[in-house]
Amino acid sequence: GGDASEPSEGPTAITVATYPVMSNAAVYIGVEEGIFADNGLDVTLETITSGPDSVPTLLSGDLTFTSIDVPTLINATKEDVGLVAVGAMMVGVDVDRGYVGVVAAPDKGIEDWADLEGKKVGVNALGSTPVALISASMEAVGADPSTVQWVQIAQPETIPALQAGQLDAANLAQPLLTAAEEAGFEQVGNPEQLTVGGVPTFLYVTTREYAEKNPEVVAAFQESLNASGEIANGDHELAIETAKKSTTVDPAVLDKVTGLPMWGSKPLTTEDLQKFIDVLVNAGQLDESDASIADQMIWNG
């Protein structure tokens, strides 16, 4: 639900988790531009390094909202953690050079999805979005993803592993994607393009308990989020400038970044989630029996 309910009294304090990368630019812009304040929210931003690891903090109440990817929320829902999605942080980018990408060394002869057959491909976790998306992308061009050898490797170690020839290709997100290109690797494609273009991939979540107690805060948060996403999507330069201010990163690195994320700017719907879930089911990452889980994942304030 996206219906705004105006808070009447002073601003409500909330704490929102952010990653030390640019996926959060929208929230930063929203805070900078006073959008959250206009909706009666006093936002504190807390940096986190991993979505799943921020869940305990959310449960302990030190965070009000955090962001996790769809498979993580599916797992949390299956395990009854009590999380609900309240909005989209990012949605899949519909172009061939996006926020995420698969890179390969030029001498490996990997030029498109089909060439990944039988190759060693690095992903951050074996049961994760990238595996599903790359598999689906391969299937979309008629290749057989079951021949791929998936290798679990954390993002920061991926480039060294590529350089050492330990991997044929790997899935990376910005800014590592740009860094890999700088280091001479070539983009094979954007795994979101053929699969989840326009579909939310990263979600803002809170606990069901909190949402039930504070529906108006959630609503205000959703309102602000979408407005912020709107601005960020429309002004990439502003997004970059915000990233320069909001992170400690070397501005020179940021200037090189091509391919930005697409931020959520519309109310989240069950259908959106279902699209993602279907991709996962098709890729064999999710059991058919869990395919109707979308309803329980979302907050319908």
Binding site: L59, A125, P160, A164, Q166
Partner: protein, 263 residues
């Protein structure tokens, strides 16, 4: 006490406290309503499901055991070799001390890319990474033990012209034995701990892999069951270790038995 000391009562002494705590845990956890602290009952169900079914258990235990055995052996050997070298050649030790101390304090995040570039992303890299981290307790203990040898004994070996090799193996290392064993015991636990981290890189099985995956998938009782498995693994390894220690340090145990009386 002495009459007490048959196998059964030894076991009794060894398990009364853990048993008590388990009962306590079992009872208290039934009433704790927290996702991350499931009832012990549930944990044990998850344990039975994941670690008592041979197929499932083996796919996780085999890679881990292989890693533990090889990495731990390497760590102990390397620790003893380097520790002895540095302990015997004092000027060398003093000269490289800053480097050694700095190296010990390098966080794993910096080592991982290095190890990947050097050794790949497969089992050998994990083994070396674990061995590197687990080597330090043995190394430091060996270093200190080698230096603490009774000076009169060293004089004795010099005066009787006992060659270097024999002096090393029959006097210095034996004298340092108790301390080396203390280090090796710590290394054993460190091996298991680093293993968990190492198994997040390139692995597709192993206790650590299972644990970290369960954690990120919110399968909390499965995660706890992995910790229980690690604990049991640690305990079993420590028993093997203790048997070796009892055998090698027999003299020390007998000699120190005299201490118990008064202290």
């Amino acid at each position: 006490m002495k009459a007490f000391r048959n196998g059964v009562s030894l076991l009794a002494i060894e398990i009364w406290l853990p048993l008590l705590l388990v009962v306590l845990w079992w009872t208290v956890s039934e009433y704790v309503n927290s996702l991350y602290f499931p009832p012990l009952r549930v944990i044990m169900e998850a344990f039975a499901e994941n670690w008592l079914v041979p197929d499932k258990a083996l796919s996780n235990l085999v890679p881990s055991l292989q890693l533990i055995i090889v990495a731990y052996s390497l760590a102990v050997v390397a620790g003893i070799v380097f520790g002895t070298t540095l302990g015997l050649v004092r000027p060398l030790e003093r000269a490289v001390r800053p480097i050694v101390e700095a190296m010990r304090a390098v966080p794993g995040v910096a080592l991982l890319p290095l190890f990947i570039v050097l050794f790949g992303i497969d089992q050998p890299m994990r083994i070396l990474l674990v061995a590197f981290g687990a080597m330090w307790p043995v190394l430091l203990n060996t270093l200190d033990g080698v230096r603490g040898v009774e000076p009169t004994l060293l004089d004795m070996t010099r005066s009787y012209r006992v060659g270097r090799v024999r002096r090393l193996f029959q006097v210095i290392l034996k004298s340092a034995g108790p301390q080396i064993f203390a280090g090796a015991r710590i290394s054993l636990a460190v091996t298991l701990i680093i293993m968990v981290v190492a198994e997040t890189v390139g692995a597709d099985g192993g206790v650590g892999y299972f644990l970290m995956t369960a954690k990120s998938e919110f399968r909390i009782s499965a995660m706890w069951s992995a910790m229980v498995a690690l604990g049991i693994l640690g305990y079993i390894l420590n028993i093997i270790f203790r048997i070796a220690e009892r055998y090698v340090l027999r003299w020390h145990r007998l000699q120190q038995a005299r201490l118990e009386r008064t202290s």
